[in-house]
Symmetry: C5
Subunit: 364 residues, 5 copies
């Protein structure tokens, strides 16, 4: 009490005697009746008439896609959010204070809009202590660094050629639209341009696009303003292609070559088994990367399994051929052989394709 009284006294005297002394930021603080001795009055929205909602403008800049964890279906992003609103109770005349027209104060000095991200699943990380920038007409703005882990339904069907789209829904939790209206101060184009400009990392994921959707969600008779940022990103498949798809193809090519080579059956089986072990080693790599997510597996797994099946069938075929060569054929098989090879002699060009098929005996 006393201090405040004395302060006002000093202030009034000072203004009377020497107006050029009023050039400290603390003078504005005293005029606004803010001191660090009492707890900050951050309880209610700064509105003169409670029926008019407060407009909060939001600007979003994506800085980094830090990690995408397919197994947990989470994505960690790092972004900046700038909020701007008007506090009608925090105004002063710059001419009274040597033209001081803006101030920077700790964030808990005044009420500020507390936003939540609906998809967020991990603890928020305090990257920096936020400050408010206040202009004399009551416009307040603040910029916050966020590192947030969100859940995102990752579609692994086309891995590693997949493009993912994750939503981040910013909402002013519990304040309905009659209290706060969130508005994006950027268009989708601006958000894209700014995010592309500041985007720092050049990792596995390539940020391609951001899309801003503003809508109101009704929940139990109240309406809440929500801004959803759809972040699209594309995986860079090059290393997966080189590490997985290329070696698989190469091993299958070898398998084919050995199948048609002039080795003995025993050698053939030996070589084919070596290749199957090589394929198993590749499976070790695949297992670490792939999540066990959806009901239908990624195409790459089907491809891998397919090659594996073909290789196994190659060995089985060689075994069968060896058997057939040694022992006299069943009359049934003999008949089949005759029947099929007659067909094949007509379509010799297709013989490679029907290799895994039935007319095996032609090579005996």
């Amino acid at each position: 009490m006393w201090e405040a009284f004395l302060a006002i006294l000093t202030l009034s005297l000072a203004t009377g005697a020497a107006p050029e002394q009023l050039c400290k930021y603390d003078d504005v603080l005293q005029y606004l009746n803010i001191s660090s001795e009492k707890a900050p009055p951050l309880r209610t929205i700064p509105k003169e008439n409670w029926k008019e909602p407060l407009k909060v403008e939001i600007q979003f800049i994506l800085i980094s896609i830090l990690s995408v964890t397919e197994k947990l279906q989470t994505v960690t992003v790092y972004f900046l959010v700038t909020m701007k609103w008007k506090n009608v109770f925090v105004t002063w005349n710059p001419q009274d204070f040597c033209n001081i027209s803006n101030l920077v104060l700790p964030v808990d000095t005044f009420w500020f809009p507390y936003i939540i991200i609906y998809e967020q699943v991990d603890e928020e990380k305090s990257l920096s202590r936020p400050f408010l920038s206040i202009t004399h007409n009551g416009i307040i703005s603040t910029t916050q660094q966020h590192q947030v882990t969100i859940t995102c339904s990752l579609e692994m069907r086309q891995f590693p050629f997949d493009t993912q789209m994750c939503n981040m829904s910013i909402s002013s939790f519990m304040y309905s639209e009659t209290d706060i209206i969130l508005r994006s101060s950027q268009t989708t184009e601006e958000a894209n341009k700014q995010s592309q400009l500041y985007h720092l990392t050049n990792g596995e994921w390539k940020f391609t696009n951001i899309n801003i959707i503003q809508y109101t969600e009704s929940l139990e008779e109240e309406e809440f303003a929500v801004i959803t940022y759809e972040i699209s990103m594309k995986r860079r498949p090059i290393l997966y292609v080189l590490n997985l798809i290329f070696p698989t193809c190469a091993l299958y090519l070898l398998d084919m070559a050995i199948m048609f080579s002039a080795s003995s059956y025993g050698d053939k089986i030996s070589f084919q088994l070596s290749l199957i072990i090589g394929e198993s080693v590749l499976a070790l790599i695949l297992k670490d990367i792939l999540p066990t997510s959806s009901d239908d597996p990624p195409i790459i797994v089907m491809f891998f399994i397919g090659v594996f099946v073909l290789m196994i069938m190659g060995v089985l075929e060689t075994c069968l051929l060896m058997q057939l060569k040694k022992k006299p054929l069943n009359p049934l098989l003999k008949a089949m052989k005759l029947l099929r090879c007659r067909k094949q002699s007509r379509t010799t060009s297709g013989s490679l394709l029907s290799k895994q098929g039935w007319c095996l005996v032609t090579y005996i």
Copy 2:
């Protein structure tokens, strides 16, 4: 003191002079005698008569099953809990305040029910700063985001075709039923419907069902209200089938094929050993996935071990056959051979099944 007095004074004057000025949220706060300068009075339950328990209604929405760690027997879930109760000391007449009928305030402004989860084992993560929504008749509600790791006795017997059921017991720790009664405001059907609606992720685990059980637990002559949410979830086995069960079967099929092939014994052993090494590589995958939990191992392990044993026995058999071929047979073995093969000649159809059995010499 002074401030409050002045505030009331201003307030009374204001109401006398200009009732349309009473349209700020702060007016209600002043009427309710809340200011940010003193510590919040959050010590006791807001009851007029201490004998009547306070009813707290709880709504639960499961958002995400984030991870299931079989080795540690823990499950991490992300959910929303909405609590609603009545604070009889926080009421006002909306007509006195321009029809302001509800307010949003920080959570520590009033007493609020502090719930615990009995099975929780990890630090609670503060996902968002909670707020209270207060209506003029004293009904207070709050929604909190929780990311919680709970212990759950995971039954791995039927892995990877297992369905797990984990309990989350919400209780108002230390407040007995004479103080607080927890009640679920949803039926099991509603909880299911809402959780299915909001469920975000599409990972390894498929959320199937939620079951609400309300009961009272007596502990040292006092009774405590507990709401248990039984969360059922089903593992999507497809990738385990493709990565583990299918290759194991394929390798065993190959082993059989080689066993009956016309190769020399030396080649056979060589091929079978290759397959055993391939099987060992698969064991590397299995080891990473399986927990070493219960006393009896999962069926998949028994299946794996069984295939391994059969493969080993295949090699042993081939070795024995080779030995028998080279050296003259013991009279004992000769007798056995004669005896058994006579039997087998009658049941030729069963010869495949009894392959790992005793009548090995028929193939010599």
Copy 3:
């Protein structure tokens, strides 16, 4: 000051006029002179005579053994601790307050015994905000959930058939026995029964027994009360047996079979090398599990190494035999051969055991 005075005034008036109005918990708080506006007076132990130590009764319930990290020699457990003591300054007559006989208040309202765990090495995790339950005669009790990582000298000698015993020493740090006496309110049997009842998880470790030891430790002329809980737990070895010991035995069996088989020496070496590679793959599994702790390695490692050595020696023996067969023997070796095989012809039953020994030439 004023508030307290007014409160007492109101209280005395109230008691005079309408005793049935005294049915709020806040009335007791006011009587006890507790308000949330001043900092809690938690500095000194609530004793009327400083010479009489305060008795604190402790109850311990083990809920979960969460993880045992052999490499770091740490164990993470989750347990409940209930403490009960008497605060002589916090009493009231229930008859004055409509029979209110107990209250629940936040933990920092009064002094409470702060316990430490001597073996704790990781940051304490705040699982739930603790509350105090206070009865009218001053008995205060509080239950806390703890997740604690403790160091524990893990003896790996008998892995995976090991039983570990870890100590958790609870002490009232810095308060000597003249100030606080810690006493377990349970016997060892009760602690066992309760922990077995609540024990949640069914993982790798099976909780077998808990043992309570109470003693006083003297440190620099002062005596401190300590309660040590010895937690015994047994590893479930089944998966280690199936994953490590069984395949190793199987591979060795194969090695023996091949050794005595009728294959050519070249084939034998080839097969044995395959088995050695298979054994190396198993070594990859072993390496991930075993800590590099004590000076003498676990028995399982010695077993593994032994099998490996025997396999290596098997190959060496085959090489030697091949060499001997091809080239004329040294006179020395010839003599040895004659000498030994004469011996062996007498002890034919022991020939299997002395296989890795010297009389190799008998098989040539």
Copy 4:
């Protein structure tokens, strides 16, 4: 109030009677009107005239490069930052206080410049509670330990012979240049010398150079002072060379040797397949190290893939040769053979280089 008054009273009396009693630090605190009972006045910049910006001098010493995570494109560094500025309101005459000329106080006693690091992505870690060192003429300095994880665009093209350069941009967030001017108190040379002196670790990354760039960034009509520290570091490639490049070359050398050896075609294929499996095991190592970052893969991957392709082609070639030997040649192939081998007979020295080429039949 009273305390302060009494303190001043005591002080004035004391000065009158016994000036040698004024030798406590608390006397200076009382003179500066700082007490721990009121909240610290840390709101505004200590400037007498708001138009003159405050100069803050910054000194930076890099202590450790803790980790470089290529997959996430982040770098964790540990450094010291010393800031020095003048607070014109905190001065005293040392002669009045027994020549006390400097004080050490907790950091929140006065306003201090709050700096942010633009590239920081992880939560700041509080390594030590900072203090301020204050001299009688108002010069305040503070040293802070920082452990910070920053994003950094890591260029993996030349892995493992790469040199990375990461930027750390220190800025006084939200305070424009009219308020605060950040200046580095070191030249680039001094920063290098000091960082080299204190640099503690000797890990995978060798700190080579630090470069200080001071500039102003304009953002929405305001200018902000930024100091960017460019940290250059060099990877120590020796273990990657020994673990990856050397074995790959060795395996390829073997492949060449086997290709030109006098083995049968069947053996050759068998050996080459063994080498391909060995190469696959190396691929397992490579996969763990390499990030899947940029669009064009690191040169080492191309080298690895190249060797793999050559090995595969070696097997294919051997198969082809075997086939050609067995069956009569096509007239086309025969012609090719004749044509090419005539050429080759002239350039025999080049025959090694053209091995993977077309004139394979010369060896048949």
Copy 5:
């Protein structure tokens, strides 16, 4: 104010009337003018004369070496630090207070020396809330549990037979020697004895020795007291020997045996390639353990590489021999052969050592 006054009043009255009532700890607190209602006066060092430095005695007990991360060059240790100093302003006459001669109070009741560890790189972990133990003559002591991660230049040259020495430098950050003098209250021998006594874990690292070095560091004209604890620890190499060095030697022994065996060249190459693949699997183990730190690699890597090179050369040699056998020798090679084998016939004992050398043809 009032409370204090009343307290003193009560106190004086009490002492007059009933001295046996003064037996509560709170009486001492009131005499010392400490209450929990005002913020603790922790700003300045408790010195009567600012020119005399405060002596702080430090005792250090190492409890556990928790982990050594070679890749990051960090070490995590767990230790106790006990500090003892004199606060001349906190004294009382025990006779006035029923012989109460010491108190235990929360740590923030008085000023306490804040120490930092220079090498610390990770966030400090709050293991327990510290308390102060205060005696009537002003001696204050406090014991703190610390879990600290420090950087330490780990020398991996002699891995796994290495002994590491890590420094922990404790300093009273920013307080120069004119303010605080840190002194170790133990000799090096005492510190060793106590640390050996309390040392809990028996893991990979064996704590061998601790060495205390006290010195003053001058920094910008001021001198700071520093106590450096040199912690020596020895790795237990047994499992590395059994897992890495022994199998490598065994495989090389096999390689040698096969080299000199009587197999055909084709078989020899096949066996040697198998061994090389086995060696690659061991390389997978080595890669996980070894950091990629210094410029010259650990000796064990050189040993490993050496064995690998010898194995590769063995295969090359066998290939060469096979080639030589089949085709007529070059005149050059023939001459070499003659020349060298003449030499060798003289030094037959050295023939094993020169195996990998040039005179290969002697075995043909």
